[in-house]
């Protein structure tokens, strides 16, 4: 394994050997490179002022994704091109269309959030731009602006593709691709810095071996949880094993009616497939974090993190997902709900990691809905999330019910008493109302800054009502945001 980190900063190759493995990209840019265009507004991935773009080779082209520099660690730049706001102007000083459109539409006031917006828009621009409001909102959900009220920025987003395309930079794309491809040779990175270690293996086998040897290590996937341990809790991580370069974990395919999601698959990569097979899950996923978070964060990390307010576990549990864990060469499998033992405790052995999540494709007759409740629609952590999967038998009675909530207990937890109250009953309002009363048996939620226990309980019951209404009245308008999937 190579003992240096290699990437392109704009057009310039970098090879770092003496680097703190958990130094954030933002700190590196501002303090080591003196590139102070990217700002720190929160150091927790929420405000977007630090947004940078990563270009990566996919096939014979580059893909561009915006990420939060404040919670990404420098060694994960390996093999990528890092673009910052300083890279956009042409060599003659001309502004990039994204920048010019922001200027012309009065998209900046105080200007502090602006570099981050510019970079999010730059990623959108590289993907062809967007006119649709929902697409623009999705691209910008991870960028907070306190001055403009967003209108001028949305206008800039819409107009940016009207400008003449920028001239190619000093390093043509083909050359960038060639350079990055060159970096991908070899079997990964292994760093040691002041007694602390970092590994980025490229194969599943190597990963399993290294982790088995270093059971003290923290597995690093997208870093959207771990990054905050460093920037917010100021924790020092002794050994880190990065799984983002392991090709076998980046799989996303349907095998025998089961969608297999590799642990390294980011939300953004999974989104289209998820929307296709599970549109309701897709809508929840659209609201997980922001584009920057989804570009880095993984479903595997969401599950492994074990938080009771993680969004995918309750949905996956309601869908009957199973978890595939690996320790060295040994693989075991379990129902996802069995993984969550208690608050902060999962059924995972030393050296064991999440390899895959298997989600059975739903039969056509399953009525499935999921609802995320938070103070703000976009980029907010869940107060309560309910996922419901119910089937009816031929006479219209409930044949199966899987209901799972997040935010209602110490773990993502099924509403077993409520489910039991539904089973065998006719799918009527009375049944649903009677069953809802069992939520109080299933859950004893907490009060915190996101919501009170009362609200959580009340809204959970109401979500069951909503589920029932949506499944019994096809014409019902019931959603304020996103795509309502009715019938």
């Amino acid at each position: 394994m190579r003992s240096s980190v290699n990437f392109l900063l704009g057009d310039e190759p970098r090879e770092l050997t003496d680097i703190d493995p958990t130094m954030t990209v933002l700190r590196y840019l501002r303090e080591v490179e003196g590139r102070v265009g990217s700002k720190e507004g929160c150091a927790e991935g929420d405000c977007g002022a630090c947004t940078v773009v990563l270009a990566e080779v996919q096939g014979d082209a580059l893909t561009y994704r915006a990420v939060n520099a404040c919670i990404q660690f420098v060694p994960t730049l390996e093999g990528k091109q890092l673009l910052t706001v300083e890279d956009l102007k042409a060599s003659d000083g001309a502004l990039h269309p994204v920048q010019q459109s922001m200027v012309d539409n009065h998209g900046s006031q105080c200007g502090f959030c602006t570099p981050g917006f510019v970079m999010s828009l730059h990623a959108l621009y590289q993907q062809g731009g967007a006119q649709d409001r929902l697409e623009i909102d999705n691209a910008l959900a991870g960028n907070l602006c306190r001055c403009t009220g967003y209108g001028p920025i949305v206008a800039a987003a819409r107009a940016m593709t009207d400008y003449d395309a920028p001239a190619e930079g000093d390093m043509p794309v083909a050359e960038v691709i060639a350079h990055l491809k060159g970096l991908q040779e070899g079997d990964g990175v292994s760093l040691e810095w002041r007694g602390r270690k970092y590994f980025a293996p490229r194969s599943l086998e190597a990963l399993a071996a290294i982790y088995k040897h270093h059971t003290e290590a923290n597995i690093l996937a997208g870093g959207t949880d771990i990054g905050l341990w460093v920037t917010k809790q100021h924790r020092r991580l002794q050994t880190v094993i990065y799984i983002g370069d392991v090709a076998e974990l980046d799989t996303l395919e349907v095998v025998d009616g089961v969608l297999q999601i590799g642990a390294g698959v980011t939300y953004e990569r999974a989104l289209e497939t998820i929307c296709e097979h599970f549109p309701e899950f897709g809508e929840v996923m659209r609201r997980i974090g922001s584009t920057q978070i989804r570009n880095a964060g993984t479903i595997g990390g969401n599950v492994a993190n074990g938080s009771p307010i993680g969004d995918s576990p309750p949905v996956l549990i309601a869908l009957g997902a199973r978890l595939v864990l690996r320790c060295g060469p040994d693989v075991r499998e379990m129902a996802l709900e069995d993984f969550f033992v208690d608050y902060g405790k999962q059924d995972r052995q030393p050296g064991e990691f999440v390899e895959r999540i298997d989600v059975p494709l739903a039969a056509p007759d399953v009525m499935f809905r999921s609802y995320k409740i938070s103070k703000r629609f976009d980029q907010d952590i869940t107060a309560a999330l309910g996922a419901f999967a119910v089937t009816l038998d031929d006479s219209g009675n409930v044949a199966s019910a899987r209901i799972c909530f997040g935010g209602m207990a110490a773990t993502p937890k099924r509403a077993t008493a409520t489910e039991a109250a539904l089973l065998g009953q006719p799918w009527t309002e009375e049944t649903m109302q009677a069953a809802a009363e069992h939520m109080a048996t299933d859950y004893a939620p907490l009060t915190d800054m996101r919501a009170s226990a009362d609200y959580r309980m009340k809204v959970s019951k109401n979500l069951l009502t909503k589920f029932w209404l949506e499944t019994t009245d096809e014409t019902l308008e019931s959603r304020l945001v996103g795509v309502a999937v009715n019938g």
């Binding site: 010019q100 502090f112 403009t148 009220g149 920025i153 915190d448 009340k458 109401n462």
Partner: protein
Amino acid sequence: MDDVVAADPKPANIRGAVGTSRIHDSAAKHVAGEAVYIDDIPLPQNCLHMIAGMSERAHAKILKLDVSQVRTAPGVALVLIAEDLPGVNDISPTGTKDEPVLATGKVHFHGQPLFAVAADTIDLARAAAKKAVVEYEDLEPLVTVDAALAAGETVLPTEVLTCGDPAGKLESAPHRRQGKVRLGGQEHFYLEGHISLALPQEDGDVLVHCSTQHPSEVQHNVAHVLGRPNNAVTVEVRRMGGGFGGKETQGAQWAALAAVTAVKTGRPAKFCLDRDDDMIMTGKRHDFIADYDVGYDDDGRIVGLDVMLAARCGFSADLSGAIADRAMFHIDNGYFLGDLKVTSHRNRTNTVSNCAFRGFGGPQGMVVIERIIDDIARTLQKDALDVRKINLYGDEGRNVTPYQMTVEDNELPEMIAMLEQSSDYVARQKEIADYNANSRILKRGIAMTPVKFGISFTTTFLNQAGALIHLYTDGSVYLNHGGTEMGQGLFLKVAQVVAQEFSIDIDNIKISATNTSKVPNTSATAASSGSDMNGMAAQAAARTLKDRLTGFACAHYGVTANEVVFAANKVQVGDKTFTFAEIVNQAYLNRVQLSATGFYKTPKIHYDRETFSGRPFLYFAYGVAVSEVKIDTLTGETRTTRVDILHDVGSSLNPAIDEGQVEGGFIQGMGWLTSEELVYADDGRLLTHAPSTYKIPACADRPEEFNLKLWPKGRNREETIHRSKAVGEPPLMLAISVHHAIAEAVGSVGAPGHIVALDAPATPECVLDAVDRAKSSVAKKTVRGAQ
């Protein structure tokens, strides 16, 4: 001079003339990451990085503060406790002496700075700070306004404004109702947190780069804390990454600690608050409780009112006095209230000291009266807009405010009529009622609310400003004034004024950082007064110079003053034409002074604090908004779907900048009233101290349909700079319409006459509670009907 001021902006054939939508002067730098904020200034190697050691109690005696381990921790250059401050340990902005830089004796809020550490890196400083040993003796903390009110704890005496005979009028009113409203505070959430960088100078002097709206006050406070005269301290601010009032007073502490460190160590010192520290240690908008007792007639006209306002001031006075005053001054919003009594308590709580925030108490007063109007409309089962209209200020007899100022330019009736038309209000209201009748889960609501906001500092002496202009021999202009740039476009507007004055392209004017050594003794850039006052001061300086150039040209070329005309980058002198640069250079060669200061003090205002009467404001800014929302009655979630705004900025200096202020202010106000919730734990800890838990509006929250129009008839009847009006704060309060639209939607599930009593912020939880109350009002009515 007066008639020139009176003229509307004339179109001038120059770039950046007054009245044109010039793009923000820093826009191209913003988008390229080239605009320099304080954290971006390249640092010398030996710069120290600072952090505060914070109290872990909300209210306690400090039994022991042992920082010896901190002092010896690796990389630490200096640790400051209160006793180490060379001068006065106080940074209270109004002389109340209740705001220590570092706590002594007692701590008054969770997070209060006890000591400061300066180390080679921020990581070392943070690690060192953990080594302090602090022992407390806990005292009972007052965490809520209710608790402080019950305990009678205040930071300043209670004020009462009485007008007529409210008690008698309440007795005799045909209808009477009491109610209570609670409205939350608000975190500024400027994207750039507080930061100061202090650079040691000769003789123990110091230069402080500080992200502040009030460089002069920071200068004076730093000097006090250093125990040095004001002239030993220079404060500079090129731009802030947002202020919104949060940087009016709150920057002094970090500036002072950095300055003391720089002077003591001889090394540069940077105090950069990270987001959590900023939210924990710096003030916010005051949350309020209001109790009201209102009397009204059958038409909904208010005839008597008694209001109690209680504000969370936090542990010290800061600007709470003036803020609570402004809440009292805006209890009328646009309405003639007649006989009333307003009691204002300035409550002391063991939470961070609250401070200025866009609107400065005005929004809180206005929310209360709008809620009262809403209650009246509901009890009488009338349309709220009709009740609003009937209560508006009017002619003789209905045109005097509770503080005895005559409303001379009551624009609201006309603006409301215009917006009612253009927003299609009546038809939409009907259509919404139909929708609600047929929609089981989702309900819609629409509401129109007005804004009347008084412009001027209510502390009269603050209404002064200064400017400095140099003309260089090549005709380039250097402009400086006391106002600060926080994104609002002030620097640009003032430069436009100067460009207009000299009739030269704005590109010739160098906008420069606010600096206390250039223009002294300035007021905060606050109270929306930035361009009103600094524009006037700069205009005065420009006129002085223009007069000198004209005088020179007359003497030199033997023409009369009216034969010297500045037009479109040229100066016409009799039958000769020179470029502006030529005239300036000729003047220089003829020993004409080419540097001038300008000064402005707002005329007409006066105000007696004892009787709460006078003319505290030069004029009013007006606006009207119609908002439409959709709510989910099962979850309490809400979404604003359409907004129509008509706002009065007078004759705009820069319509694009003004529209940006209106739209941005509106969304910020919407956040305050909907998703932004400050939550304190019972022990006084702030639980929402980062964007992960404190939710300001995101892009998707901006309503898809947003129709914004500046009032076409807008023209300030007062002699303000080019007849413009202040725009910084007033638009925030247009968002009260969102809150009322939500209340309308909630009301649609209630029985007729049900009082919705929606508090703020209307989070999903708050809305769902209101929905459930409304639903049960129907149930109750039904039960009663059955009996």
